[in-house]
């Protein structure tokens, strides 16, 4: 058992070359906050990237930041905040959710897991802000892709491929991301006492309005300020006069249902908690699923599962993201959830990921949505092109990938 702790790109290449020569896989770690994500690994070696840290280039007016892949998110957030900017995809921490409190999420970590918070509906996910990188493939070769500017179509967009690859294709050494202005003000309008199907329609109306809603979630009973029955929260952000106008427009439009309005810090705390899946994170022993479906089907999928099993749930992304907490019996709901995604006519699209589960559960059920044979074969060929001997996080996503 070796723990490689490279401090430079050359040392990273040498570490991977050594693992490749021995044909002994490595598990890639940095801050340690996402170790419980994905299928459990048992590798002979650990590749610890935490020394590949620090912001390397940042000019706020270029809207671009380049940093070592293992730079803590907290350090990046602090620097961006000093300049009135942010990572617009609202990367969550998930430390409390995954029981990794105290671990430090890194920029490379949120990118390789392609995470995003509630602003996903408006601003996109990590993939949409990932502009370029340098790293080492499972072939032990240094390579780069993308660039350090916000608009670039030169060559294949390998950034998209690496985002969400869970370290199975390459170990990132340096990443470049797009950064955006932090909104001056935030306001949240809460609508109480809404049934699930009505909530989905209401969120669609809000997101389909010109009011630039940047968050639309449906909270569980008893969660959030002043909510007793289930309620919808809608967020608007931007310059103060614009937020005031849009908040009032939402209030007028949904007049009968508006139960409260809260601004700034209170608002920020709510959306941060939703990104952390706080409404379903307790009790700690339950399995937590994250399900992406067409927004109009969010309530239907959640209710189909909750009708068959004891499940806590809430919706984010206007209904497009279903968070479910289910007891760890049997497959912890995998079969019901995946059947619900397909729907009665079998044509529904989407995918379910097991975000939290015991090692045994994550070994027993597919953590990521199983793919049709042709697609699974293509994914394996992609893996082989980057990591032919399967030494980087092998099996983290799917057996053989």
């Amino acid at each position: 058992m070796t723990r490689f702790v490279p401090a430079t790109i050359d040392e990273l290449r040498e570490a991977i070359a050594a693992a490749l020569a021995a044909e002994e896989p490595v598990e890639i770690v940095a801050g340690g906050s996402k170790c419980g994500l994905g299928r459990p690994l048992q590798t002979p070696h650990t590749l610890d990237l935490s020394r590949l840290s620090g912001v390397r280039e940042y000019q706020p007016s270029e809207l671009v930041l380049t940093a070592g892949a293992a730079t803590p998110l907290a350090e990046i957030d602090r620097l961006l905040a000093e300049n009135g900017q942010m990572l617009a995809f609202e990367p969550p921490d998930w430390g409390a959710l995954l029981g990794a409190g105290g671990a430090r999420p890194t920029l490379g970590g949120v990118i390789t897991c392609n995470l995003a918070g509630p602003r996903r509906v408006k601003a996109g996910a990590a993939r949409d802000h990932f502009l370029g990188f340098r790293g080492v493939s499972g072939r032990g070769e240094v390579f780069k892709a993308g660039g350090k500017v916000v608009k670039n179509v030169t060559g294949y967009d390998l950034c998209k491929l690496l985002a969400g690859s869970y370290g199975t294709l390459a170990a990132l050494e340096e990443v470049t991301v797009k950064v955006l202005p932090r909104p001056e003000t935030v306001s949240t309008v809460m609508l109480g006492g809404i049934a699930p199907d009505a909530a989905v329609r209401l969120m669609a109306a809000a997101l389909g309005s010109p009011l630039e809603v940047s968050g639309a979630a449906y909270l569980p009973k008893g969660y959030g300020p002043n909510v007793s029955p289930r309620g919808v929260v809608l967020r608007v952000e931007g310059p103060a006069p614009s937020v005031a106008f849009r908040r009032e427009a939402l209030r007028d439009h949904f007049a009968a249902a508006v139960s409260s309005i809260f601004d700034d810090d209170e608002s920020a705390a709510l959306w941060c908690a939703l990104g952390e899946a706080a409404p379903v994170s307790q009790p700690a022993g339950r399995a937590v699923w994250r399900v992406s479906v067409a927004p109009s089907r969010g309530a239907e999928v959640a209710e189909a599962v909750a009708g068959a099993l004891d499940a806590d749930w809430f919706l984010d992304w206007g209904g497009g993201l279903v968070w479910l907490a289910i007891a760890e019996h049997g497959d912890a709901g995998a079969t019901q959830i995946r059947a619900a995604i397909k729907g009665a006519d079998g044509r529904g699209t989407g995918h379910a990921s097991l975000i939290r589960g015991s090692v045994g559960l994550r070994r027993a059920v597919p953590v990521f949505e199983p793919q049709p044979a042709a697609l699974a074969a293509l994914s394996r060929r992609v893996k082989d092109g980057f990591d032919p001997r399967h030494i980087l996080n092998p099996g983290r996503m799917v057996e053989g990938v």
């Binding site: 702790v5 040392e11 040498e14 070359a17 050594a18 490749l20 020569a21 021995a22 706020p60 007016s61 270029e62 809207l63 900017q85 996903r120 509906v121 996109g124 996910a125 072939r139 070769e141 390579f143 660039g147 500017v149 916000v150 670039n152 179509v153 030169t154 060559g155 294949y156 967009d157 998209k160 491929l161 969400g164 202005p181 001056e184 329609r201 669609a204 389909g208 010109p210 630039e212 931007g238 006069p241 614009s242 005031a244 106008f245 849009r246 067409a294 927004p295 109009s296 497009g320 989407g350 995918h351 949505e369 697609l375 699974a376 293509l378 060929r381 992609v382 092109g385 980057f386 001997r389």
Partner: protein, 495 residues
């Protein structure tokens, strides 16, 4: 510019191949006669021409699948084509390759307002998507200047942009789902109406892959509600530096305009002579800044941008009072290419991206290169995202000018890379910038990209000769160089 050596044996089989294709696509969907094939000999990059071996225009996914399966079995190359508006030669045919035209896939399949998405066939035009949903107040955000003609399939291939991409993203940020056919005829579906990938983000790599990975047969796109208000400022500056400083100040103030375009003096003069938009002819640089959103926000931001423009030595400043006036501000910019076409027999449109802070220095250097190559240049610039479009003026009828224009263009793109930018911001590599790829990527970078290609198309039959300056066999690219059991650096720190 060299294309892969045509295979004379394949060319000799033209009639037999056409017969085989007619069995797959009956009726008039297979084109063999020389004059008809010539209609497809080039795309938007007209300097390069090559009639294809045969043209096939399938109408169903099953036909696309059968054509590709046939090509794979027979080892015949395929060049996919949408409307043929590529400015980088992405759809340039091959003498020994089938041209697969997707123009008959022109139906809008589903409009789903509840999920804010539209499912279309790839031959639908970019503007056709917006037209289909505008009655309900929606639109499709990416708006390349060829949007009236270019197709969604082509937009996927090139990851097309437009003037609104700083705020609303490129094509890649607006695609939810794809159906595509692989070279072996297999039909796969990626995504749908939901967000993010379940395994590797193959939509993300197919978008912008320039027709080298597969043939897209169906696309689900995100649509947005049209902003309720849009207003624009038209600002003249005494120098490019001042205009550049103003752009930086706007971004630094936390403002992301819907569009922010800059033109230099030659571009201003060409545009004004063409459309009489009322552009200030004494300005060295002209900035159009458009703010969109709720009226309260737009009014607030217009005032802030006006202040920043004045702080940065604006010499003239107009604010649109109504939509007609806003559109008149844009008229000159939108007509910049044809306007330049009026003052020169030919022009060559370049497409690099630079860090915005280097703009003034880059324009000075382009001016020097202009004198050195003896050709005039006009610059238009997507100032928000750093995407520079120098238009090189030349006359193709004068011996040597086209070669000089190409050499000048190559120098500009190398300059973009040298200052920390990239070869192409939205037009793609195609054949045009293929041989410049080594200026930005080393061999290992290009080899890794080609290994992705091998996962999709191991025989290299899809659009060969584009993007990559050298073609390697997949077997060669896959070879590993490992010294078994030998750790290369035993002195590496281990803990």
């Amino acid at each position: 510019m060299h294309m892969p050596e045509p295979d004379a044996a394949v060319i000799a089989r033209r009639a037999e191949i056409a017969t085989a294709l007619r069995r797959i696509v009956p009726g008039d969907g297979v084109i063999v006669s020389a004059p008809e094939r010539r209609a497809y000999e080039s795309d938007g990059l007209t300097a390069y021409r090559q009639p294809p071996l045969v043209v096939v225009l399938p109408e169903t996914v099953a036909q696309v699948s059968a054509v590709l399966r046939y090509c794979k079995a027979e080892g015949i190359k395929v060049v996919p084509r949408g409307a043929g508006t590529s400015l980088s030669g992405g759809a340039l045919p091959l003498a020994d390759g089938i041209l697969l035209g997707m123009g008959k896939f022109n139906r809008i399949l589903e409009i789903d307002y509840a999920n804010r998405c539209v499912t279309v066939q790839p031959g639908v035009t970019n503007l056709g998507v917006t037209h289909a949903v505008e009655a309900a107040g929606f639109y499709y955000a990416p708006d390349p200047s060829s949007q009236i003609a270019c197709t969604i399939g082509g937009n996927i291939a090139e990851n097309s942009g437009g003037v609104h991409c700083l705020k609303y993203g490129l094509t890649t940020n607006n695609v939810l789902g794809l159906e595509m056919v692989l070279i072996d005829g297999e039909v796969i579906r990626l995504g749908g109406k939901h967000l993010d990938a379940d395994c590797y983000d193959l939509i993300g790599v197919v978008t912008g892959s320039e027709g080298l990975l597969g043939v897209v047969t169906e696309v689900t796109l995100r649509i947005l509600k049209k902003p309720s208000t849009a207003r624009a400022l038209l600002v003249g500056f005494p120098s490019v530096e001042d205009a550049g400083n103003c752009v930086a100040a706007i971004i630094a103030a936390g403002i992301i305009p819907g569009g922010m375009e800059m033109m230099d003096r030659p571009a201003i003069h060409a545009a004004e002579a063409f459309v009489h938009a009322g552009y200030p002819l004494d300005a060295e640089a002209l900035l159009i800044v458009e703010l969109d959103g709720p009226e309260a926000e737009v009014d607030h931001l217009i005032a802030r941008v006006e202040g920043l423009a004045r702080d940065n030595r604006a010499a003239s400043l107009r604010i649109s009072r109504n939509d007609d006036e806003r559109l008149s501000f844009w008229a000159g910019r939108k007509a910049a290419f044809p306007a330049v076409g009026r003052i020169s027999p030919d022009y060559y449109c370049m497409d690099g991206t630079i860090p915005r802070g280097r703009l003034a220095e880059v324009l000075v250097r382009i001016g020097e290169l202009s004198r050195q190559h003896g050709l005039r240049v006009a610059n238009v610039f997507h100032a928000g995202d750093g995407n520079l479009h120098p238009l090189i003026l030349y006359d193709a009828n004068k011996p040597g000018e086209i070669e000089r224009a190409e050499a000048f263009g190559a120098d500009i793109l190398k300059l973009c890379v040298a200052v920390g930018g990239v070869l192409t911001g939205e037009h793609g590599v195609g054949v045009e910038k293929r041989d410049l790829m080594p200026a930005m990527f080393d061999e290992a970078d290009l080899a890794q990209q080609q290994r992705l290609k091998c996962a999709f198309d191991p025989d290299g039959l899809l659009n060969p000769g584009k993007v990559f300056p050298t073609l390697h066999r997949c077997a060669e690219l896959g070879r590993l160089h490992v010294h078994h059991g030998q750790v290369p650096h035993p002195d590496l720190p281990r803990f």
